[in-house]
Subunit: 344 residues, 2 copies
């Protein structure tokens, strides 16, 4: 029972009604919920004396129940999957999402943050590239994939473990000369730990590895030139490649096809992201899968949490390996025989 003299909170109403906090939030914010849920919340609110005035207090406290998501754009499957999940998670909690896209323009990122602040939001989730982004301490902010400062929580995949997992898998599948290839932003971010994890695992296993990094400014041709320099007499020197993204696997596949290097017979490829073909069950390639839904839910939970005293600076969520046709896994056929899966 609630102590007399203390104003009831939304949490009290949720406990009394036996429903989730999000359900109470929805009823208060006029978002339709199932009739029986609405009735439970309204009855509990009446019993506890959680009145219309409490609703009004909520409004006066300047809550907008709006969260801004800042992304480079939706023209990348990871970004659109993240936006989809963040939107879904916010809706479940009775919040709405403002989307601001920056087209990888770091000035635009600063402008976006300024704009969404002026337009009053309760918090920001940002995936940004500006090396020195001024956030300010007055507005809850959660960063995705980029560590900004100790006071700003960052949510990402466990990129380091994912890189290690890719190395272990290539070695397990028989690769003797594994290569790490990376192309991306010049700004250091969490995703750079993919290469670090790969290198650490290779060194631990004493593998004869190569690690090659390029920046976006170098252009994809730099990757093609590098591969061509390592093709001798029609044979690629490497028998396994861990690409920093599935998108890079796409480019590498196309180039190797031009050079008549076969995948996965001559070289096995593993990407990173977990991109699916047309959002079906099929992975585009063998890949380290990012837990996008969990990343979104975690970012939203941290952002909306009232108690931020124990918030970690960095939360890395577990990744998984999924075969997708660019590696040679042993598979069991319908007749019970083992065979090598080579189709893409």
């Amino acid at each position: 029972m609630r102590k007399a003299g203390k104003s009831p909170t939304m949490k009290d109403v949720a406990r009394e009604a036996g429903v989730a906090l999000g359900t109470v939030s929805k009823v208060i914010n006029g978002i339709p919920v199932g009739k029986s849920y609405r009735q439970k919340v309204e009855d509990a609110a009446a019993r506890l004396g959680y009145s219309v005035n409490s609703y009004a207090r909520g409004l006066r406290a300047d809550k907008t129940h709006t969260v801004a998501l800042i992304l480079p754009g939706l023209d990348h499957t990871f970004f659109s999957a993240l936006a989809d999940s963040v939107c879904h998670e916010l809706t479940l909690r009775g919040y709405r999402m403002v989307l601001a896209t920056t087209q990888f323009d770091t000035d635009a990122e600063a402008r976006c943050i300024q704009m969404v602040r002026q337009n009053k939001v309760d918090g920001i989730i940002g995936l940004t590239y500006a090396p020195d982004l001024a956030i300010g301490d007055d507005l809850p902010y959660v960063s995705i994939d980029r560590y900004i400062s100790p006071s700003i929580p960052c949510v990402s995949s466990d990129n380091f473990s994912g890189g290690g997992m890719a190395a272990e898998k290539l070695l397990e599948l028989g690769c003797k000369k594994p290569l790490f290839l990376r192309i991306g932003s010049e700004v250091i971010g969490e995703t750079d730990k993919r290469g670090a994890g790969f290198v650490a695992a290779c060194e631990l296993r004493g593998a004869d590895y190569t690690s090659q990094r390029f920046n976006d400014a170098d252009g994809i041709e730099a990757i093609f030139d590098f591969l061509d320099r390592h093709i001798q007499g029609g044979r690629l020197e490497f028998d396994g490649i861990f690409c920093s993204t599935d998108r890079l696997v796409y480019y590498v596949l196309k180039h190797l096809k031009d050079r008549r290097v076969r995948v996965p017979e001559d070289v096995q490829l593993i990407g990173f992201d977990g991109t699916r073909q047309f959002f079906t069950e099929d992975y585009f390639c063998s890949t380290i899968v990012q837990p996008v839904r969990q990343m979104a839910a975690t970012a939203v939970d941290i952002l909306l949490s009232e108690d931020r005293s124990h918030t970690p600076a960095l939360i890395c969520l577990p990744v998984t390996y999924a075969p997708g046709g660019t590696t040679q896994e042993a598979v069991t056929t319908a007749t019970g025989d083992m065979e090598w899966q080579v189709s893409i």
Copy 2:
């Protein structure tokens, strides 16, 4: 020169400053613009006497400079491309975008509309599936791909012409037995005109065509069963298939590969959407390309237009055909020879 006695409008300021209306809107709404533009707008506002009070009038007029986009989700490349473009077009005009996703739940669509109204927006752009969606006349609304009522403008691709274009192309590329395959929602929408356009063009040319429609409830297996029933002695009866979406091409390609029917040698495939591989320059398949950017810009322009007296009920934007490896186009090689392009 402005007439004396009449309060200056934002348009007057834009004309006086020699800048776009959107730039004035940004300055008024505190969204950063280039310094020289801000100076021009502020100087022009000062000359015309467009005062801080005018800004306040704008606020009192209850403009939120927020537009809601309602979509089934971002887990479809057309949806995420549309959301990306709508967000970009709104930002250019000094507006922000609230994204609400419905997961194809028609009840969720009605709830979304109610929610975004309660949260005060200046207008809604919706891609919905509910057959009888109550919109109301008080809030500007633009529908994408679904005609709702004469008073609600609908923006879509020219789906009918696109279907005709696919038929003409298959016939031109030598197909004698073209097939139209469709799987999608049970609710009739603009996209259903793709099949109608295909049929009309085939009849005009006296082609021996087949048209087969399935609903999502039938499942993709219905498509596979249909194809299997038309494979005799390892040969598919059809030599060209127009699929209602690129995603359907993906499934058909996979199934035909299982059945050892070769694409494009045995059967040529054309999809619809213009899906690109990892947002590169490469199309996933030969396809009718939707003008997504123009659709977004048109929807935003209509939504924000103050004069709606001449707004059409339906605006169909022109589509284009793009070869993408699933058809046999004659191509000119580097040596000037003509050859058939067969690679995917």
